[in-house]
Symmetry: C2
Subunit: 336 residues, 2 copies
DNA sequence: TTGAAAGCGCTAACAT
DNA sequence: ATGTTAGCGCTTTCAA
């Protein structure tokens, strides 16, 4: 391994000078700087980032904590963070939290051990107190996909209520009057907000949504299928179905066809997230685009900025709005 | 920040003793050990991993380099690595190579700066010489999804030829005689091997595969659609379609239905990879399961093992075999 | 403009 | 069983 000492020796200068050259310090003579640079290149010297971190307490390392990377949504999130990290010349440490408070905490701790001052956290299950405490300790902590008023300027989140309203309004404008909703059994966070948006829109339009027309299940394809089967078994009549997310929507489409109902002719279905799967099903899914990757890049830059405590943080929050993506799973309400 | 010194002072011992307690050294008195442990807990002390890395030259850090995390396949790969890393108590550094030799090299270099001796590399575009050189320099480097005889024991890969043969044989056994293939324009690596497998099977069965029945396109849904349209436009007749991967297969299904052909009644379609999308399309896609996540975990353990140069490496390679997953996109060949 | 030297937090000989 | 001490590779005063 080539160290700064080796470079210094070969270049015939002190290690301090080498260090200065590396850091573009302008207090080095031209000739000297050129010589050192040449030696660095020749020897293929690369500074040891651990040593650097140890003394300077700054690592140019950024951490992400997401529940599970194998889920496309989180893969996109990670990809956005990676992009932001690369653009700012930061390294990326990654940890799965596996949907548990305990492992989430471990993941965060391990990132802190590595001195990364900028952390992007996607937390669904930790309580506000824990998060607040963490935020206090880590200036460069940014929450993605969660809003807490006390640290509003460190939250990068999506307006789920507005998104759900937009989806619902779209269906209403297409003439639908009979709605059903399939949502997640876990009503904390996103599912709750999306349901709220649906309710608001329906109410504004003077439309009913019977409790029986709301079916809860797991937030995946199987859950979507089961929820629709349950709806059908209960004899609920609907021409428009709002799903908590794309996965449930796709499961729903499968179940609908299996029951002899056509999408969108008999039932219109709308999803949420705009994952790649939404272009894989047939009909292609109309859905709300969740700009995760963009949000993640944004959050990364924000986290890096905030980790520099010498800069006064802005006080605004960072709210993104989902966009409707029209594909083929929604049609006008069928005539009676 | 709590350091080892603080702990030592509070516990009334030397830092060496604290260090020993941390490392479960058995040369510490019971009483003393208990006291130190208590102080560590009280103070919330966590060893600084940079300092540790600096002196011990071992970081318990593992790096992965994949082209692009937002693609589900690589998300799964990363997830598998993460699992392996967590189980071995390793931290995970991640870098996208963006499908380019240059950024791939940068990604690797940045991992090395961080002293991570174990690296999982998914490389499609670097040439063998570069890789070989790298392998020589980094004992803990493992190649995933690529085979190089010279470092066979450090390759974790999939038998693409066998997989493609299995898929083809399955179709043959279902009575199909008229085949078409859609593959990637880039024929290096996987696509080439899969095509080879298809050719071998067909030949063995005494079946023809006209060059015109092989269409190249980009390896995604759009590519799949275009390829099938091209096939149809050329007037190629086929009852069985082998796609390079799931994405192309799904695009193909869309194009087939758009052309008034039913899957699987008129045309059977088979994919490769078994991504989540393969369960999203309708009919659900019959495909070859690529155990990426499992392979990635395996590769991780292997990399960690190899990075310990005191252990004599085994000489065998690490070959995985894809499994057929029967879903609904394949049927018996239609009668004439 | 350049160098000498202190020390970041930790591990691992070497002493005791 | 426990303490002392010498660095790991680097940044950063302080001096020259």
């Amino acid at each position: 391994m080539v160290t700064i000492k080796d470079v210094a020796k070969v270049a015939g200068v002190s290690i301090a000078t080498v260090s200065r050259v590396i850091h573009d310090g302008h207090q080095v003579g031209e000739a000297c700087r050129a010589r050192v640079k040449k030696v660095i290149a020749e020897l293929g010297y690369r500074p040891n980032s651990n040593a650097r971190a140890l003394v300077s307490k700054t690592t140019n390392t950024l951490g992400v904590v997401t529940p599970k990377l194998s889920m496309p949504f989180f893969g996109s999130l990670a990809s956005g963070v990676e992009k932001g990290a690369r653009e700012n010349n930061y390294k990326l440490l990654m940890s799965n939290s596996l949907y548990e408070t305990k492992s989430e905490q471990e993941a965060i701790d391990s990132l802190r051990d590595h001195n990364c001052q900028a952390i992007i956290l996607h937390s669904e299950y930790s309580d506000e107190k824990t998060l607040l405490k963490l935020a206090k300790e880590i200036p460069g902590l940014v929450l993605i996909n969660r809003y807490m008023p006390a640290i509003a300027n460190r939250c990068v989140w999506l307006d789920n209520v507005a998104g759900a309203r937009q989806a619902t309004d779209y269906l209403i404008n297409r003439g639908h009057k009979n709605f059903a909703v399939i949502t997640s059994i876990y009503q904390n966070g996103d599912p709750g907000f999306r349901l709220q948006g649906i309710r608001e829109s329906l109410k504004t339009a003077g439309l009913q949504l019977a409790e029986a027309a709301i079916e809860e299940s797991t937030a995946n394809m199987e859950g979507g299928e089961q929820a629709v089967q349950a709806l059908l078994n209960k004899g609920i009549k609907f021409t428009a179905l709002l799903a908590y997310n794309d996965l449930m929507a796709i499961g729903a489409i499968h179940a609908l066809f299996a029951a002899g109902l056509r999408v969108p002719e008999d039932v219109s279905v709308i999803g949420f997230d705009d994952l790649i799967v939404s272009r894989a099903c047939r009909p292609r899914l109309t859905t709300m685009h969740y700009p995760v990757e963009e949000m993640a890049s944004y959050a990364t830059k924000l986290a890096i900025q905030l980790s520099d405590t010498s800069i006064e943080p802005e006080s605004r929050t960072h709210l993104f709005i989902p966009q409707l993506v029209e594909r083929d799973s929604v049609a006008d309400a069928p005539h009676r």
